[in-house]
Symmetry: C2
Subunit: 143 residues, 2 copies
Amino acid sequence: MQQAAARFADYLSRNRLRMTRERRVILEQVLAVGKHFDVDDLLVHMRNGGLRASRATLYRTLAHLVDSGMVHKVEMAKGQARYEPMLGRHHHDHLVCLKCGEIIEFESPEVERIQEEVCRRKRFTMTGHTHQIRGYCRRCSSR
Amino acid sequence: MQQAAARFADYLSRNRLRMTRERRVILEQVLAVGKHFDVDDLLVHMRNGGLRASRATLYRTLAHLVDSGMVHKVEMAKGQARYEPMLGRHHHDHLVCLKCGEIIEFESPEVERIQEEVCRRKRFTMTGHTHQIRGYCRRCSSR
DNA sequence: CCCATAATTGAGACTGAGTTTCAGTCTACG
DNA sequence: CGTAGACTGAAACTCAGTCTCAATTATGGG
């Protein structure tokens, strides 16, 4: 947390942005909710803790956190975005359960390698990717 | 086209749905615009041809075409959906140029294989997936 | 061939996620 | 400190897509 705050502060100052109370609170809460939350989860979590920030500020701050690389944005179908803190975590992709909404992570260096190969072949400069597998998790499948 | 119409008619009757003028026109236009269009492309294309259907009907009919497997829906970031006819075409994924919007297709049986392997390991029943690589196409990269 | 029934349509209201605006507030450099 | 310029919240707005409902139309049975 100390470290995260420092890193965010660093990002902010490098971009002539300011460390405000709202940004401090939001960073702290993002770390507290843990992985795979959406803006409403965060809002509820904050209110439960007696804290608040407007939706607009939440979106604005999340954008900065994403920009700084401290948080990843995961685009789900129909434009519902979820976020996950990436503090020293590895890149990974997701299995998404269509029934219960569970999100399971997976990583595959092999897929990464193939992606790079594909880009090389197509002369494409990759800046990012999304790889999502949809279906039913173990629990939901068996019912 | 004949074939496509027959296939759609078949899908409709199997689902107690009706073959209306609007649906006929939309199917025809979907095939005419070719690959990777969004709803506005389709609407414009139709108006240029002196044809029309309401937005609501367009969305409803596209949903049926997707359901019948004749068209695939490609979810882009921020909930902008694009569609592509799949008449006897192979499954594939996409490279998306962030600058000019070009969409390049790629397929990788190897990735498919890995996906299945991942699902097996996680006891996950896959019903579909999205695999998109974002970046800059050859032309946009070199500028 | 015609009718009744149920599906379909279009216009426009509505939704939900996210963005923008703008006046008042606050941060932090000098 | 003071102040330029960044930040914030409320509310208006945008955008893609969905829903409602009254009027229209396809279709299967007689």
